[in-house]
Structure formats: structure tokens, C-alpha cells
């Protein structure tokens, strides 16, 4: 707002001013000038008054914003609990899956062993090089193999269903994480509002800022390697980097 735009000098006021100055009535001329400027000052005072009220209100609102209080005392502790639940459920699922897989290993080994037992005589049979005694042995071995395979594969089938069911955590943890993301967004908005209210937010600062690392350079998994120049994106990159350094 230019301070000149709202000054309106009338022709009468101008003539009066010239008259005062010609009559050497400096005080009266000054008074007239002040009178002409007065409307501007009034507007300025009104503006300052309005701003003061707004600041007062926003400080009051800020102070009494119970949502902020809820966020800090209830929602964030609740989110921590939810995230711990995610850790527990994913760990549980990983262990359940590995329990099953580890129990399948010996079952598969057993079948492999039976096949190994059958193989030499089977090979002889395929080359018409098997006598009757060996043929009887082979038949017995194959019988054992069939019985074992039937029994063990139905066991494996059941175990694979267990592996399948162990993945049910994804649905629950996905919902929880989505809720926590919503909460993080809300906290983010509140913080930005707060910064804006105090005139501290700047778009430029936001975009130039990289998250700070903890001690010892540790950052954990990189979720956006495509946007980063200081990280490798896969094992190939690691191998290339190390060999370029002579390791």
C-alpha cells in the first residue's frame, strides 16, 4: 500500500494552504497539512489494530488448541504403541515363516535321499542292465519312495498353507502404518501453521534441507535412492564403487 494513494487534497484545501503560506501563517499551514494526512493515519491505526487483534486471537487459539495437546499427549504415544505392534507382528510373521521353512528342509532332504537310493538301480534298469535280484530291490526302493513322497508332499502342502497364512500381518500392519502416516501429516501441518504464524517458514529452506543423520553416519535403509547422489542403489553399485577404489 503506497502511503500517497489515499491522500485526497481538495482544491479548496490547496488554495487555503497557498493563502496561509502567502500570509506567512506557518502554524496554520502545518495544521492544514496534518489535517490532510489524518485520514491516512486513521487507516494505518485501524490496520495495526486489526493485526493486533488477529495476533491476539491466534495466540489465544494456539494456546487453547486442544488438538495440539491431544496430539502430544495421546496420539503420538498411541502411534508409538501401534508401530511397536507392527514390529511385533512382522517379527512374529517372519519367525513363523522361517519355522515352517526350516521344518520343510529336512522333509525335502528325506525325499532327495530316497531318490538317491533308487537312482543307481533305476539307471541300470533304463539301460537294460538289471538282474532279477536287483529288480526286486529296486521295486522295494521305489515303493518306499512313493510312500515317502506321498506322505511328505501332503505334509509340505500343509506347511505351505501355514506360510501363506503367516502373511496375514500385511493387511493389519498396512492399516496401522497408514494411520500413523495420517498422524505424521497432521503434525506436519500443525508445525507448518505454527512456523507460518511466526513468520519462520520458507519454501526454499524446506526444499534444500536433507534429514540429519544420527551418530556414526548411520541412516538405515534408503527409501529414495533415485533422488540421492550420495548413496548406492544396489549391490552392483557397491561392487563398482569398491573395485573403482581398488578393493
Amino acid at each position: 500500500m503506497s502511503k500517497y494513494t489515499s491522500i485526497h487534497v481538495s482544491l479548496e484545501q490547496a488554495k487555503l494552504l497557498v493563502k496561509y503560506l502567502e500570509a506567512d501563517q506557518q502554524n496554520k499551514a502545518d495544521e492544514l497539512i496534518a489535517e490532510i494526512q489524518n485520514p491516512v493515519q486513521t487507516a494505518l491505526f485501524e490496520e495495526i489494530g486489526k493485526l493486533t487483534r488477529e495476533l491476539h486471537n491466534s495466540l489465544n487459539n494456539f494456546h487453547f488448541d486442544s488438538r495440539l495437546n491431544d496430539l502430544a499427549t495421546a496420539d503420538i504415544p498411541d502411534a508409538k504403541e501401534r508401530l511397536n505392534f507392527v514390529i511385533d507382528r512382522t517379527e512374529e510373521a517372519a519367525n513363523k515363516t522361517m519355522d515352517v521353512v526350516e521344518s520343510i528342509f529336512p522333509v525335502v532332504s528325506n525325499i532327495q535321499q530316497q531318490i538317491k537310493n533308487v537312482n543307481p538301480l533305476w539307471h541300470k534298469l533304463m539301460h537294460n542292465d538289471l538282474d532279477v535280484t536287483d529288480f526286486k530291490v529296486l521295486c522295494r526302493d521305489i515303493d518306499v519312495l512313493l510312500t515317502t513322497t506321498e506322505k511328505e508332499t501332503s505334509k509340505i502342502h500343509g506347511l505351505m498353507t501355514d506360510v501363506l497364512m503367516a502373511q496375514d500381518f500385511q493387511d493389519l500392519t498396512g492399516q496401522i502404518i497408514r494411520k500413523v502416516i495420517d498422524l505424521v501429516c497432521e503434525v506436519e501441518d500443525s508445525l507448518i501453521n505454527m512456523l507460518t504464524a511466526f513468520g519462520m517458514a520458507s519454501k526454499q529452506e524446506q526444499s534444500n534441507y536433507l534429514p540429519k543423520l544420527g551418530e556414526n553416519l548411520v541412516e538405515g535403509p534408503i527409501v529414495n535412492p533415485g533422488n540421492r547422489k550420495d548413496v548406492v542403489s544396489d549391490q552392483h553399485d557397491v561392487d563398482d564403487l569398491l573395485s573403482s577404489l581398488g578393493f
Partner: protein
């Protein structure tokens, strides 16, 4: 061959143990951070260490440095299996004397290839 697997997550230790067992390593012990691993290494005759980087109390990089600084342990090959993927970190680990560096997530084939390379170099 006696192997020590160091990771703060039991699931990851279990995955690595299973993969190592598949590759013929049967004598495997576990530790959940560098601070637990170091006394085990000093007490036992381990031939090989697989370690994570980011762990509570004592990080993998500090474990590596401690191993290289200890006369009795400095010969033990160390393979790092970690989610830490910053170039600075990889260079830091290489300079500290790591024998192999695998970034998570990794495959069984990667682990096998790195082990082959490490033991090939050691002869």
C-alpha cells in the same frame, strides 16, 4: 569353519544362518551387537564374521575396527551385510579393512558369490 553372525534382529540372524548352512557352514554362533560379539571372538577360535552395521551399543563398523586393531583377531575376514548404503560409509568400511560389503535387501546368490570371493582371495 566357525562363523559368528552379528545382527540386532534375530530374524536377520536366522536368515543368514540358514543361508550359510545351505552353503555348508554348520558351526555358526550368534551375537546381537558388537559389544556381545567382541568377547565371543576373543574367547573362541572364530574363522569368519558376518556383521550388520547399525546396531545398538557397538556398531558393526566399530566392531570391524576393534577386530583389525586386535593382534589375535586382525586376520579374521569380516563380511558386512547392512542396509547402510551411503558411498561414504562403504568407503569407510573398505578403509577399515572389511573383506566384503553386501547391501540389504540381498539374495542368497549374492551372499554365496561374496563368500567365494573372500575365501578365494585368502587362498
Amino acid at each position: 569353519m566357525k562363523v559368528l553372525v552379528v545382527d540386532d534382529f534375530s530374524t536377520m540372524r536366522r536368515i543368514i544362518k540358514n543361508l550359510l548352512r545351505d552353503l555348508g557352514f554348520t558351526n555358526i554362533s550368534e551375537a546381537d551387537d558388537g559389544n556381545t560379539a567382541l568377547p565371543m571372538l576373543k574367547a573362541g577360535d572364530f574363522d569368519f564374521v558376518v556383521t550388520d552395521w547399525n546396531m545398538p551399543v557397538m556398531q558393526g563398523i566399530d566392531l570391524l575396527k576393534a577386530i583389525r586393531a586386535d593382534e589375535k583377531l586382525s586376520h579374521i575376514p569380516v563380511l558386512m551385510v547392512t542396509a547402510e548404503a551411503k558411498k561414504d560409509q562403504i568407503i569407510m568400511a573398505a578403509q577399515a579393512g572389511v573383506n566384503g560389503y553386501i547391501v540389504k535387501p540381498f539374495t542368497a546368490a549374492t551372499l554365496s558369490a561374496k563368500l567365494d570371493k573372500i575365501f578365494q582371495r585368502l587362498g
